[in-house]
Symmetry: C2
Subunit: 237 residues, 2 copies
């Protein structure tokens, strides 16, 4: 009897959470089909990292899809005129919705993953959302993911046939430190990941994403292998 592996679409952004999530899909014995959305971020560092991760992970395929979110505006990640928060107090991150929120981004990403899943007959979609360090984004919450799952059942040909494409969020309850520990166990090449909202040569060490990443590494008692332009005074390892 030939054992057929199931397929999973893994949304890979190039950051820590999505990279660890994709490695978890691989560990769960899925054939990984990587999907990266180039949504008009101000820089391309994330895309370069996503490519490296998909390659090192030996994904079956890697689709990079361009969508010009800049046409909509409304986020500092796609609009140069809106300033990205920096040097914030860690306790303030997650209290409200920051400028880096991209309208309905996860909904668009999951919808595209759903389209890809239907086309290749995949059973699962892996997305690296976390509700702990979610930085105030509405579309990182558990009840949002559940609602998407409900909708996906009705949206698809598979759903009509009584099958489901499972939306898997293995990190949703994990802190950044826990995610980093899981990633180190799975040998995720963190040196090839990119989290910084800015696209300079080195990570800025000041934006919310750098701060959460640095705190995660500090709390997990591991050194972040990437280079920073600046390190906050609380970061000690």
């Amino acid at each position: 009897m030939i054992f057929m592996k199931n397929k999973a679409v893994c949304l890979i952004s190039g950051g820590i959470d999505s990279s660890v999530t994709a490695y978890l899909a691989k560990k769960e014995n899925y054939l990984v089909y990587a999907l990266t959305i180039n949504y008009g971020q101000q820089h391309k560092k994330e895309i370069i990292s996503a490519k490296k991760i998909a390659k090192l992970l030996r994904a079956e395929d890697h689709i990079i899809l361009n969508i010009d979110f800049k046409k909509f505006g409304g986020s500092s990640l796609t609009d140069k005129l809106i300033e990205i928060e920096s040097n914030r107090n860690l306790d303030d991150i997650g209290k409200n919705i920051p400028s880096t929120y991209v309208p309905a981004r996860n909904t668009v990403f999951l919808s595209l993953a759903l389209a890809y899943s239907e086309a290749i007959d995949a059973d699962a979609i892996f997305i690296g959302v976390t509700s702990t360090d979610y930085s105030g984004y509405p579309d990182c919450r558990k009840k949002y993911i559940q609602a998407f799952q409900q909708m996906a059942k009705l949206a698809t040909k598979k759903g009509i046939e009584g099958k489901t494409i499972n939306i898997k969020t293995p990190l949703i309850d994990k802190s950044k430190a826990e995610i980093i520990k899981i990633g180190l166990d799975l040998k995720v090449p963190f040196k090839n990941t990119w989290s910084c909202y800015k696209g300079e040569k080195k990570a800025c060490g000041r934006c919310d994403s750098c701060l959460l990443r640095l705190r995660g590494f500090m709390e997990s008692k591991n050194k972040d292998p990437i280079k920073y332009d600046f390190l906050p005074n609380w970061y000690k390892i």
Copy 2:
């Protein structure tokens, strides 16, 4: 007191249903923000029609967003190697899912409309889905739209603030003949719409979309103003 009109994002594909839907939004006194998704269809006739409709409707803005669905494959509308059904018996249309089904298309379209709505602070999204002539697509059913609405409430910044972006489907229960009658009342310029799945100079008159359109005009006792390469023998007006 200044009366502020509410904004609505209207998905306009260039066909009859979405054009009538956008005119209904205008009639309901919304400021219309048109959104057309160029998803890699084999032809561009739909996009040209969408532009004309948005212009004639005097939309506040019209965003045309490119997404290359061809990368996913799986539909005869984006993949030349898959044949489009033609000359089918009208009773057979809608019984099963045809080759023209584009995986998760309405979910992707609605998600992008949701992103646009959030960015411009719109209160409603208008989409011209119909469950009557839905040609066997899962994502044209009422319960699917309701599930999307539920998900959208949780997905957005507006939702967190207790407000809702309403997904409006004024045609969902209407037959093509009824839609055409509504459109004629609203003076929708049907001669500028395009429904044919093929992109030749004239509409083919053989694909499911042409057949449903022709039956609609016949049943509404009006002549279709566009030109056809072929007319089925049952079409009499």
